[in-house]
Protein backbone atom coordinates (compact mmCIF):
# COMPACT_ATOMS: atom_id res chain seq x y z
CA UNK A 1 0.00 0.00 0.00
CA UNK A 2 1.70 3.14 -1.24
CA UNK A 3 -0.58 5.33 0.88
CA UNK A 4 0.77 3.66 3.98
CA UNK A 5 4.38 4.14 2.83
CA UNK A 6 3.67 7.82 2.26
CA UNK A 7 1.99 8.02 5.67
CA UNK A 8 5.05 6.43 7.27
CA UNK A 9 7.48 8.86 5.64
CA UNK A 10 5.20 11.75 6.54
CA UNK A 11 5.34 10.74 10.19
CA UNK A 12 9.15 10.49 9.97
CA UNK A 13 9.15 13.95 8.40
CA UNK A 14 6.95 15.26 11.21
CA UNK A 15 9.40 13.83 13.74
CA UNK A 16 12.45 15.52 12.18
CA UNK A 17 10.52 18.79 11.81
CA UNK A 18 9.84 18.59 15.55
CA UNK A 19 13.51 17.99 16.24
CA UNK A 20 14.48 20.88 13.94
CA UNK A 21 12.12 23.27 15.68
CA UNK A 22 13.47 22.29 19.06
CA UNK A 23 16.97 23.08 17.87
CA UNK A 24 16.14 26.55 16.56
CA UNK A 25 18.15 29.24 18.36
CA UNK A 26 15.15 31.46 18.99
CA UNK A 27 13.68 32.35 22.33
CA UNK A 28 9.96 32.27 21.24
CA UNK A 29 8.05 29.77 23.31
CA UNK A 30 5.06 29.85 20.92
CA UNK A 31 7.13 28.29 18.16
CA UNK A 32 9.12 25.95 20.35
CA UNK A 33 6.05 24.35 21.95
CA UNK A 34 5.35 22.74 18.58
CA UNK A 35 8.51 20.64 18.90
CA UNK A 36 7.44 18.03 21.49
CA UNK A 37 3.90 18.03 20.03
CA UNK A 38 5.17 17.21 16.54
CA UNK A 39 7.41 14.43 17.86
CA UNK A 40 4.62 12.82 19.87
CA UNK A 41 2.16 13.13 16.94
CA UNK A 42 4.64 11.49 14.60
CA UNK A 43 5.11 8.56 16.95
CA UNK A 44 1.31 8.12 17.22
CA UNK A 45 0.91 8.29 13.45
CA UNK A 46 3.69 5.77 12.96
CA UNK A 47 1.97 3.44 15.41
CA UNK A 48 -1.26 3.82 13.38
CA UNK A 49 0.63 3.03 10.16
CA UNK A 50 1.92 -0.19 11.60
CA UNK A 51 -1.51 -0.96 13.10
CA UNK A 52 -3.17 -0.98 9.66
CA UNK A 53 -3.69 -4.75 9.67
CA UNK A 54 -4.61 -4.65 13.35
CA UNK A 55 -7.39 -2.14 12.64
CA UNK A 56 -8.82 -4.39 9.93
CA UNK A 57 -8.56 -7.37 12.23
CA UNK A 58 -10.36 -5.47 15.01
CA UNK A 59 -13.20 -4.61 12.58
CA UNK A 60 -13.55 -8.29 11.60
CA UNK A 61 -13.25 -9.47 15.18
CA UNK A 62 -15.83 -7.12 16.68
CA UNK A 63 -18.12 -7.68 13.69
CA UNK A 64 -17.94 -11.42 14.19
CA UNK A 65 -18.68 -11.11 17.91
CA UNK A 66 -21.68 -8.87 17.23
CA UNK A 67 -22.98 -11.22 14.53
CA UNK A 68 -22.40 -9.08 11.44
CA UNK A 69 -23.69 -10.79 8.30
CA UNK A 70 -23.46 -8.76 5.11
CA UNK A 71 -25.47 -11.29 3.10
CA UNK A 72 -28.35 -11.03 5.55
CA UNK A 73 -28.06 -7.23 5.41
CA UNK A 74 -28.27 -7.11 1.60
CA UNK A 75 -31.09 -9.65 1.65
CA UNK A 76 -32.98 -7.41 4.05
CA UNK A 77 -32.23 -4.37 1.93
CA UNK A 78 -33.51 -5.90 -1.32
CA UNK A 79 -36.60 -7.21 0.44
CA UNK A 80 -37.40 -3.73 1.75
CA UNK A 81 -36.78 -2.16 -1.68
CA UNK A 82 -39.16 -4.68 -3.26
CA UNK A 83 -41.64 -3.98 -0.52
CA UNK A 84 -41.60 -0.23 -1.20
CA UNK A 85 -41.77 -0.75 -4.97
CA UNK A 86 -44.73 -3.09 -4.72
CA UNK A 87 -46.49 -0.61 -2.42
CA UNK A 88 -45.87 2.15 -4.98
CA UNK A 89 -47.33 -0.06 -7.73
CA UNK A 90 -50.30 -0.93 -5.54
CA UNK A 91 -50.98 2.75 -4.95
CA UNK A 92 -50.55 3.46 -8.66
CA UNK A 93 -53.19 0.92 -9.62
CA UNK A 94 -55.49 2.11 -6.84
CA UNK A 95 -55.05 5.66 -8.16
CA UNK A 96 -55.91 4.49 -11.67
CA UNK A 97 -58.93 2.66 -10.28
CA UNK A 98 -60.09 5.82 -8.50
CA UNK A 99 -59.66 7.87 -11.69
CA UNK A 100 -61.68 5.35 -13.67
CA UNK A 101 -64.67 5.74 -11.34
CA UNK A 102 -64.50 9.51 -11.50
CA UNK A 103 -62.65 10.08 -8.25
CA UNK A 104 -59.74 11.90 -9.84
CA UNK A 105 -59.54 14.41 -7.03
CA UNK A 106 -59.03 11.61 -4.50
CA UNK A 107 -56.25 10.09 -6.60
CA UNK A 108 -54.55 13.48 -6.82
CA UNK A 109 -54.95 14.55 -3.23
CA UNK A 110 -54.44 11.24 -1.45
CA UNK A 111 -52.57 8.78 -3.64
CA UNK A 112 -50.07 11.17 -5.28
CA UNK A 113 -48.57 12.45 -1.99
CA UNK A 114 -48.30 8.89 -0.72
CA UNK A 115 -46.47 7.79 -3.87
CA UNK A 116 -44.18 10.86 -3.62
CA UNK A 117 -43.30 10.03 -0.01
CA UNK A 118 -42.52 6.46 -0.96
CA UNK A 119 -40.34 7.65 -3.84
CA UNK A 120 -38.35 9.89 -1.49
CA UNK A 121 -38.13 6.97 0.89
CA UNK A 122 -36.74 4.79 -1.88
CA UNK A 123 -34.16 7.43 -2.80
CA UNK A 124 -33.13 7.76 0.85
CA UNK A 125 -32.85 4.02 1.34
CA UNK A 126 -30.80 3.47 -1.80
CA UNK A 127 -28.52 6.43 -1.02
CA UNK A 128 -27.95 5.18 2.51
CA UNK A 129 -27.14 1.71 1.31
CA UNK A 130 -24.87 3.07 -1.42
CA UNK A 131 -22.97 5.07 1.21
CA UNK A 132 -22.60 1.99 3.41
CA UNK A 133 -21.49 -0.26 0.56
CA UNK A 134 -18.96 2.33 -0.65
CA UNK A 135 -17.49 2.58 2.84
CA UNK A 136 -17.27 -1.18 3.13
CA UNK A 137 -15.89 -1.81 -0.36
CA UNK A 138 -13.31 0.94 -0.04
CA UNK A 139 -12.55 0.34 3.63
CA UNK A 140 -8.87 -0.75 3.11
CA UNK A 141 -8.18 2.34 0.99
CA UNK A 142 -10.15 4.62 3.30
CA UNK A 143 -8.27 3.37 6.37
CA UNK A 144 -4.94 3.99 4.61
CA UNK A 145 -6.13 7.44 3.51
CA UNK A 146 -7.25 8.23 7.07
CA UNK A 147 -3.82 7.24 8.40
CA UNK A 148 -2.13 9.34 5.70
CA UNK A 149 -4.18 12.43 6.56
CA UNK A 150 -3.55 11.76 10.24
CA UNK A 151 0.21 11.75 9.60
CA UNK A 152 0.41 15.12 7.84
CA UNK A 153 2.80 17.48 9.71
CA UNK A 154 1.50 20.28 11.95
CA UNK A 155 -1.88 18.49 12.41
CA UNK A 156 -3.00 19.84 9.02
CA UNK A 157 -5.57 17.12 8.42
CA UNK A 158 -5.37 15.16 11.63
CA UNK A 159 -9.09 15.58 12.49
CA UNK A 160 -10.30 14.57 9.04
CA UNK A 161 -7.97 11.57 9.04
CA UNK A 162 -9.21 10.47 12.47
CA UNK A 163 -12.84 11.01 11.39
CA UNK A 164 -12.39 8.91 8.24
CA UNK A 165 -10.77 6.15 10.28
CA UNK A 166 -13.51 6.26 12.90
CA UNK A 167 -16.34 6.35 10.34
CA UNK A 168 -14.90 3.35 8.48
CA UNK A 169 -14.43 1.37 11.69
CA UNK A 170 -17.85 2.20 13.18
CA UNK A 171 -19.87 1.83 9.95
CA UNK A 172 -18.15 -1.40 8.93
CA UNK A 173 -19.14 -2.90 12.26
CA UNK A 174 -22.44 -1.13 12.88
CA UNK A 175 -24.16 -0.71 9.51
CA UNK A 176 -24.99 -4.38 8.85
CA UNK A 177 -26.67 -4.54 12.27
CA UNK A 178 -29.27 -1.98 11.17
CA UNK A 179 -31.97 -4.58 10.30
CA UNK A 180 -31.77 -5.93 13.86
CA UNK A 181 -32.07 -2.42 15.27
CA UNK A 182 -35.08 -1.68 13.07
CA UNK A 183 -36.71 -4.95 14.07
CA UNK A 184 -36.10 -4.05 17.71
CA UNK A 185 -37.72 -0.63 17.61
CA UNK A 186 -40.53 -1.45 15.23
CA UNK A 187 -41.53 -4.86 16.52
CA UNK A 188 -44.78 -3.57 18.02
CA UNK A 189 -46.03 -1.95 14.82
CA UNK A 190 -48.51 -4.28 13.20
CA UNK A 191 -48.09 -4.04 9.46
CA UNK A 192 -50.08 -6.69 7.69
CA UNK A 193 -47.86 -8.47 5.27
CA UNK A 194 -50.54 -8.54 2.62
CA UNK A 195 -49.62 -5.11 1.23
CA UNK A 196 -46.33 -6.77 0.36
CA UNK A 197 -48.11 -8.74 -2.34
CA UNK A 198 -48.90 -5.64 -4.36
CA UNK A 199 -52.03 -5.07 -6.40
CA UNK A 200 -52.94 -5.07 -10.05
CA UNK A 201 -56.37 -5.03 -11.71
CA UNK A 202 -56.97 -7.92 -14.08
CA UNK A 203 -59.25 -9.69 -16.55
CA UNK A 204 -59.07 -13.45 -16.20
CA UNK A 205 -60.26 -15.92 -18.81
CA UNK A 206 -59.84 -19.70 -18.88
CA UNK A 207 -60.17 -21.57 -22.19
CA UNK A 208 -60.73 -25.26 -22.82
CA UNK A 209 -59.08 -27.47 -25.46
CA UNK A 210 -61.21 -26.14 -28.29
CA UNK A 211 -60.57 -22.53 -27.29
CA UNK A 212 -63.96 -21.78 -25.76
CA UNK A 213 -64.05 -19.83 -22.48
CA UNK A 214 -65.14 -21.99 -19.55
CA UNK A 215 -68.19 -20.58 -17.74
CA UNK A 216 -68.64 -20.46 -13.96
CA UNK A 217 -65.21 -21.62 -12.92
CA UNK A 218 -63.93 -20.66 -9.49
CA UNK A 219 -60.62 -18.79 -9.50
CA UNK A 220 -58.72 -18.85 -6.21
CA UNK A 221 -55.44 -17.10 -5.43
CA UNK A 222 -53.15 -18.28 -2.66
CA UNK A 223 -49.85 -16.92 -1.40
CA UNK A 224 -46.75 -19.07 -0.88
CA UNK A 225 -47.92 -20.01 2.62
CA UNK A 226 -51.18 -21.29 1.15
CA UNK A 227 -53.24 -18.46 2.60
CA UNK A 228 -56.29 -17.61 0.51
CA UNK A 229 -55.93 -14.06 -0.85
CA UNK A 230 -58.82 -13.84 -3.30
CA UNK A 231 -61.67 -15.89 -4.73
CA UNK A 232 -63.58 -14.96 -7.86
CA UNK A 233 -66.38 -16.72 -9.71
CA UNK A 234 -66.41 -16.42 -13.49
CA UNK A 235 -69.59 -15.31 -15.23
CA UNK A 236 -71.54 -17.27 -17.84
CA UNK A 237 -69.22 -16.05 -20.59
CA UNK A 238 -66.19 -17.30 -18.72
CA UNK A 239 -64.77 -13.94 -17.68
CA UNK A 240 -63.57 -12.87 -14.26
CA UNK A 241 -63.66 -9.11 -14.27
CA UNK A 242 -61.22 -8.21 -11.50
CA UNK A 243 -60.48 -4.80 -12.97
CA UNK A 244 -62.51 -2.75 -10.54
CA UNK A 245 -60.84 -0.90 -7.69
CA UNK A 246 -61.88 -3.34 -4.98
CA UNK A 247 -61.03 -6.56 -6.81
CA UNK A 248 -57.67 -6.99 -8.54
CA UNK A 249 -55.03 -9.67 -8.06
CA UNK A 250 -51.71 -9.62 -6.17
CA UNK A 251 -48.70 -8.21 -7.99
CA UNK A 252 -46.49 -11.03 -6.85
CA UNK A 253 -45.87 -14.74 -7.31
CA UNK A 254 -49.12 -16.53 -6.53
CA UNK A 255 -50.58 -20.01 -6.58
CA UNK A 256 -53.73 -20.34 -8.63
CA UNK A 257 -56.43 -22.95 -8.23
CA UNK A 258 -59.07 -23.14 -10.96
CA UNK A 259 -61.94 -25.42 -10.08
CA UNK A 260 -65.07 -26.29 -11.98
CA UNK A 261 -67.64 -28.81 -10.79
CA UNK A 262 -65.04 -30.96 -9.07
CA UNK A 263 -62.35 -30.58 -11.72
CA UNK A 264 -59.29 -28.82 -10.25
CA UNK A 265 -56.32 -27.27 -12.02
CA UNK A 266 -53.39 -25.70 -10.17
CA UNK A 267 -50.70 -23.43 -11.48
CA UNK A 268 -48.35 -20.61 -10.54
CA UNK A 269 -48.73 -17.09 -11.88
CA UNK A 270 -46.37 -14.13 -11.54
CA UNK A 271 -47.56 -10.81 -13.05
CA UNK A 272 -44.10 -9.31 -12.56
CA UNK A 273 -42.90 -11.31 -15.56
CA UNK A 274 -45.33 -9.49 -17.82
CA UNK A 275 -45.53 -5.91 -18.94
CA UNK A 276 -48.75 -4.51 -17.60
CA UNK A 277 -49.62 -0.96 -18.47
CA UNK A 278 -53.05 -0.69 -16.95
CA UNK A 279 -54.94 -3.95 -16.56
CA UNK A 280 -53.43 -7.43 -16.56
CA UNK A 281 -54.93 -9.88 -19.04
CA UNK A 282 -54.57 -13.32 -17.50
CA UNK A 283 -55.50 -16.27 -19.70
CA UNK A 284 -55.11 -19.99 -19.25
CA UNK A 285 -55.72 -22.81 -21.69
CA UNK A 286 -56.62 -26.11 -20.11
CA UNK A 287 -55.73 -28.82 -22.62
CA UNK A 288 -57.41 -31.72 -20.86
CA UNK A 289 -60.91 -30.37 -20.60
CA UNK A 290 -63.69 -29.58 -23.05
CA UNK A 291 -66.81 -27.68 -22.13
CA UNK A 292 -69.88 -28.81 -24.04
CA UNK A 293 -72.40 -26.41 -22.62
CA UNK A 294 -72.80 -24.57 -19.33
CA UNK A 295 -71.60 -26.78 -16.47
CA UNK A 296 -71.17 -29.87 -18.71
CA UNK A 297 -67.60 -31.03 -19.15
CA UNK A 298 -65.48 -33.77 -20.57
CA UNK A 299 -62.10 -34.18 -18.85
CA UNK A 300 -59.39 -36.68 -19.73
CA UNK A 301 -56.22 -37.63 -17.91
CA UNK A 302 -52.87 -39.32 -18.67
CA UNK A 303 -53.36 -38.78 -22.38
CA UNK A 304 -50.40 -37.98 -24.60
CA UNK A 305 -52.26 -36.33 -27.41
CA UNK A 306 -55.81 -35.10 -27.67
CA UNK A 307 -57.32 -33.67 -30.84
CA UNK A 308 -60.66 -31.94 -30.93
CA UNK A 309 -62.80 -33.20 -33.81
CA UNK A 310 -66.23 -31.63 -33.70
CA UNK A 311 -68.99 -30.55 -31.34
CA UNK A 312 -72.72 -30.13 -31.48
CA UNK A 313 -74.94 -28.43 -28.94
CA UNK A 314 -75.04 -31.51 -26.71
CA UNK A 315 -72.01 -33.55 -27.66
CA UNK A 316 -68.33 -33.37 -28.43
CA UNK A 317 -65.97 -35.68 -30.29
CA UNK A 318 -62.23 -36.08 -29.65
CA UNK A 319 -59.36 -38.33 -30.69
CA UNK A 320 -57.20 -39.39 -27.78
CA UNK A 321 -53.85 -41.10 -28.23
CA UNK A 322 -51.85 -42.62 -25.40
CA UNK A 323 -49.34 -45.39 -24.77
CA UNK A 324 -50.62 -45.94 -21.24
CA UNK A 325 -53.95 -46.35 -19.48
CA UNK A 326 -56.04 -43.20 -19.57
CA UNK A 327 -59.35 -42.26 -18.15
CA UNK A 328 -62.13 -39.94 -19.15
CA UNK A 329 -64.55 -38.18 -16.81
CA UNK A 330 -67.93 -36.82 -17.88
CA UNK A 331 -69.34 -34.18 -15.58
CA UNK A 332 -72.89 -32.96 -15.86
CA UNK A 333 -75.87 -31.86 -13.81
CA UNK A 334 -77.55 -34.54 -11.74
CA UNK A 335 -80.61 -34.55 -13.98
CA UNK A 336 -78.60 -35.11 -17.17
CA UNK A 337 -78.03 -38.32 -19.07
CA UNK A 338 -74.33 -38.82 -19.77
CA UNK A 339 -73.37 -41.09 -22.64
CA UNK A 340 -69.90 -41.96 -23.87
CA UNK A 341 -69.05 -43.68 -27.14
CA UNK A 342 -65.52 -45.05 -27.49
CA UNK A 343 -64.65 -45.94 -31.09
CA UNK A 344 -68.39 -45.65 -31.93
CA UNK A 345 -69.39 -48.17 -29.25
CA UNK A 346 -71.32 -47.04 -26.22
CA UNK A 347 -69.52 -47.91 -22.97
CA UNK A 348 -70.72 -48.10 -19.39
CA UNK A 349 -68.95 -46.05 -16.76
CA UNK A 350 -66.45 -47.76 -14.44
CA UNK A 351 -67.22 -45.43 -11.57
CA UNK A 352 -70.11 -43.09 -10.81
CA UNK A 353 -70.16 -40.14 -8.42
CA UNK A 354 -72.76 -37.68 -7.24
CA UNK A 355 -71.83 -34.53 -5.39
CA UNK A 356 -72.61 -30.90 -4.80
CA UNK A 357 -70.51 -27.96 -5.89
CA UNK A 358 -71.49 -24.38 -5.23
CA UNK A 359 -75.05 -25.34 -4.37
CA UNK A 360 -75.54 -27.23 -7.65
CA UNK A 361 -75.86 -31.02 -7.74
CA UNK A 362 -73.60 -32.82 -10.16
CA UNK A 363 -72.85 -36.29 -11.27
CA UNK A 364 -69.65 -37.59 -12.79
CA UNK A 365 -68.92 -40.82 -14.73
CA UNK A 366 -65.41 -42.14 -14.93
CA UNK A 367 -64.31 -44.40 -17.82
CA UNK A 368 -60.99 -46.21 -18.16
CA UNK A 369 -59.45 -46.47 -21.61
CA UNK A 370 -56.82 -48.91 -22.79
CA UNK A 371 -53.60 -47.62 -24.41
CA UNK A 372 -53.91 -46.71 -28.07
CA UNK A 373 -55.78 -44.30 -30.28
CA UNK A 374 -59.46 -43.83 -29.53
CA UNK A 375 -62.21 -41.70 -30.93
CA UNK A 376 -64.50 -40.71 -28.11
CA UNK A 377 -67.81 -38.98 -28.26
CA UNK A 378 -69.48 -37.61 -25.16
CA UNK A 379 -73.14 -36.62 -25.11
CA UNK A 380 -74.91 -34.68 -22.40
CA UNK A 381 -78.69 -34.94 -22.61
CA UNK A 382 -80.54 -32.51 -20.42
CA UNK A 383 -81.56 -28.90 -20.59
CA UNK A 384 -81.60 -27.77 -16.95
CA UNK A 385 -79.84 -24.52 -16.29
CA UNK A 386 -78.23 -23.72 -13.00
CA UNK A 387 -75.64 -21.43 -11.56
CA UNK A 388 -73.18 -22.16 -8.77
CA UNK A 389 -72.86 -19.78 -5.89
CA UNK A 390 -69.72 -19.04 -3.90
CA UNK A 391 -68.89 -16.24 -1.53
CA UNK A 392 -66.34 -14.22 -3.41
CA UNK A 393 -63.34 -12.69 -1.67
CA UNK A 394 -62.26 -9.45 -3.29
CA UNK A 395 -58.52 -9.05 -3.11
CA UNK A 396 -58.31 -5.28 -2.56
CA UNK A 397 -61.40 -4.90 -0.42
CA UNK A 398 -61.18 -8.03 1.75
CA UNK A 399 -57.50 -8.90 1.85
CA UNK A 400 -55.76 -5.54 1.51
CA UNK A 401 -58.62 -3.87 3.38
CA UNK A 402 -58.63 -0.89 1.03
CA UNK A 403 -61.56 1.37 1.67
CA UNK A 404 -61.88 4.77 0.02
CA UNK A 405 -64.12 5.95 2.82
CA UNK A 406 -61.28 5.37 5.24
CA UNK A 407 -58.14 6.99 3.84
CA UNK A 408 -56.28 5.65 6.88
CA UNK A 409 -56.36 2.19 5.32
CA UNK A 410 -53.99 3.50 2.64
CA UNK A 411 -52.04 6.01 4.77
CA UNK A 412 -51.25 3.61 7.60
CA UNK A 413 -49.09 1.15 5.60
CA UNK A 414 -47.16 4.08 4.10
CA UNK A 415 -46.69 5.67 7.54
CA UNK A 416 -45.34 2.40 8.89
CA UNK A 417 -42.94 2.12 5.96
CA UNK A 418 -41.70 5.66 6.59
CA UNK A 419 -41.20 4.85 10.26
CA UNK A 420 -39.36 1.60 9.53
CA UNK A 421 -37.29 2.75 6.59
CA UNK A 422 -36.70 6.43 7.25
CA UNK A 423 -37.03 7.34 10.92
CA UNK A 424 -35.46 4.17 12.32
CA UNK A 425 -32.46 4.23 9.91
CA UNK A 426 -31.97 7.96 10.58
CA UNK A 427 -31.87 7.31 14.33
CA UNK A 428 -29.44 4.45 13.78
CA UNK A 429 -27.35 6.59 11.43
CA UNK A 430 -27.12 9.32 14.11
CA UNK A 431 -26.05 6.74 16.68
CA UNK A 432 -23.32 5.47 14.37
CA UNK A 433 -22.25 8.96 13.46
CA UNK A 434 -21.98 10.16 17.06
CA UNK A 435 -20.03 6.99 17.94
CA UNK A 436 -17.73 7.72 14.99
CA UNK A 437 -17.09 11.23 16.29
CA UNK A 438 -16.41 9.95 19.79
CA UNK A 439 -13.97 7.42 18.38
CA UNK A 440 -12.36 10.05 16.18
CA UNK A 441 -11.74 12.17 19.28
CA UNK A 442 -10.01 9.17 20.82
CA UNK A 443 -7.84 8.94 17.73
CA UNK A 444 -6.94 12.60 18.04
CA UNK A 445 -9.65 13.97 15.81
CA UNK A 446 -12.34 16.61 15.85
CA UNK A 447 -13.33 18.75 18.77
CA UNK A 448 -16.61 18.32 20.59
CA UNK A 449 -17.81 21.57 19.03
CA UNK A 450 -17.67 20.09 15.53
CA UNK A 451 -19.34 16.94 16.79
CA UNK A 452 -22.11 19.00 18.30
CA UNK A 453 -22.68 20.93 15.08
CA UNK A 454 -22.63 17.81 12.93
CA UNK A 455 -25.01 15.81 15.09
CA UNK A 456 -27.49 18.46 16.16
CA UNK A 457 -27.07 20.84 13.24
CA UNK A 458 -26.97 23.85 15.61
Amino acid sequence: MELLVIAFYLSVLTYYLGVLIQMLPIPFYGVKKWAPQLMVDSVFSAILVFSYSLIQWIIDYLGHILGVDWNAYYQWFFNEINFVISTILTLKFIGMGLSSIGLNFLANSLISPLISSLTYLLVFLITFSLFVSIIVTLSPTLIALGILLHALPFRLARSSGATILAVVIVFSIGAPLMPQFIELISSHTSLTNTINYGYVPAYITVYDLKGTPLPYYLYEIYDENNTLLARYLADEKGLVNASSLFKGVPYNRQSITISLAGYIYKTIYDPRNESISKIANITYKLDNIVSVKTLRLLAFFNEEKAVYNEATENSVSLTIDSSQNTYVVLIGLKSDDLILHVDRVQVTPNERYEYEWGGVEFKAYKYYLKPGKHIIQASFIGSDRDKPYFKEIYYARDTLKININEPLSMIYPVAILIYRLFIAPTVYFSILFSSSLALSRLLGGSSSKIAHVLVSGV
Binding site: E2, I6, F8, L13, L20, M23, P25, F50, W57, D60
Partner: protein, 88 residues
Protein backbone atom coordinates in the same frame (compact mmCIF):
# COMPACT_ATOMS: atom_id res chain seq x y z
CA UNK B 1 3.10 8.03 -5.95
CA UNK B 2 6.78 7.05 -5.94
CA UNK B 3 7.59 10.68 -6.81
CA UNK B 4 5.84 11.80 -3.65
CA UNK B 5 7.69 9.19 -1.60
CA UNK B 6 11.09 10.21 -2.98
CA UNK B 7 10.16 13.87 -2.50
CA UNK B 8 9.34 13.24 1.15
CA UNK B 9 12.52 11.19 1.55
CA UNK B 10 14.60 14.03 0.08
CA UNK B 11 12.83 16.42 2.39
CA UNK B 12 13.68 14.23 5.39
CA UNK B 13 17.36 14.07 4.38
CA UNK B 14 17.51 17.83 3.85
CA UNK B 15 15.82 18.51 7.15
CA UNK B 16 18.26 16.18 8.90
CA UNK B 17 21.23 18.01 7.35
CA UNK B 18 19.77 21.41 8.20
CA UNK B 19 19.02 20.17 11.72
CA UNK B 20 22.66 19.17 12.25
CA UNK B 21 23.86 22.54 10.95
CA UNK B 22 21.37 24.34 13.18
CA UNK B 23 22.50 22.18 16.10
CA UNK B 24 26.04 23.47 15.75
CA UNK B 25 24.76 27.01 15.20
CA UNK B 26 22.53 26.87 18.26
CA UNK B 27 25.28 25.27 20.30
CA UNK B 28 27.68 28.07 19.31
CA UNK B 29 25.08 30.81 19.84
CA UNK B 30 24.08 29.27 23.17
CA UNK B 31 27.64 29.23 24.45
CA UNK B 32 28.22 32.72 23.06
CA UNK B 33 25.22 34.12 24.91
CA UNK B 34 26.10 32.21 28.05
CA UNK B 35 29.65 33.53 27.96
CA UNK B 36 28.68 37.16 27.36
CA UNK B 37 30.39 39.49 29.78
CA UNK B 38 27.14 41.03 30.95
CA UNK B 39 25.48 40.82 34.34
CA UNK B 40 21.93 39.97 33.03
CA UNK B 41 21.12 36.46 34.27
CA UNK B 42 17.94 36.19 32.17
CA UNK B 43 19.92 36.56 28.95
CA UNK B 44 22.53 34.11 30.14
CA UNK B 45 19.81 31.61 31.09
CA UNK B 46 18.41 31.84 27.55
CA UNK B 47 21.82 30.80 26.23
CA UNK B 48 21.82 27.92 28.66
CA UNK B 49 18.34 26.89 27.48
CA UNK B 50 19.53 26.99 23.84
CA UNK B 51 22.38 24.61 24.65
CA UNK B 52 20.08 22.30 26.61
CA UNK B 53 17.45 22.19 23.83
CA UNK B 54 20.08 21.67 21.16
CA UNK B 55 21.67 18.77 23.03
CA UNK B 56 18.31 17.06 23.65
CA UNK B 57 17.24 17.65 20.06
CA UNK B 58 20.54 16.25 18.83
CA UNK B 59 19.92 13.20 20.98
CA UNK B 60 16.45 12.66 19.47
CA UNK B 61 17.85 13.38 16.03
CA UNK B 62 20.40 10.65 16.48
CA UNK B 63 17.77 8.34 17.93
CA UNK B 64 15.25 9.02 15.12
CA UNK B 65 15.91 5.84 13.16
CA UNK B 66 15.88 3.77 16.33
CA UNK B 67 12.58 5.31 17.48
CA UNK B 68 10.76 4.25 14.29
CA UNK B 69 12.44 0.86 14.24
CA UNK B 70 11.20 0.35 17.81
CA UNK B 71 7.63 1.36 16.84
CA UNK B 72 7.68 -1.04 13.90
CA UNK B 73 9.00 -3.80 16.15
CA UNK B 74 6.41 -3.24 18.88
CA UNK B 75 3.51 -2.91 16.43
CA UNK B 76 4.54 -6.11 14.65
CA UNK B 77 4.92 -7.91 17.97
CA UNK B 78 1.38 -6.92 18.87
CA UNK B 79 0.01 -8.03 15.52
CA UNK B 80 0.72 -11.69 15.90
CA UNK B 81 -1.64 -14.21 14.31
CA UNK B 82 -4.56 -13.54 16.64
CA UNK B 83 -7.03 -16.13 17.90
CA UNK B 84 -10.35 -16.66 16.12
CA UNK B 85 -13.23 -14.66 17.56
CA UNK B 86 -15.48 -16.67 19.85
CA UNK B 87 -18.81 -17.76 18.39
CA UNK B 88 -21.88 -16.97 20.41
Amino acid sequence: MSDIISFIQDLIVNITIIAWIIFFLTWVIGWAIRGLPIPFMRVKRTGEKFIEDAVWAAFWLAMGTSVFALIAYIANTFYQPLPEPPTI
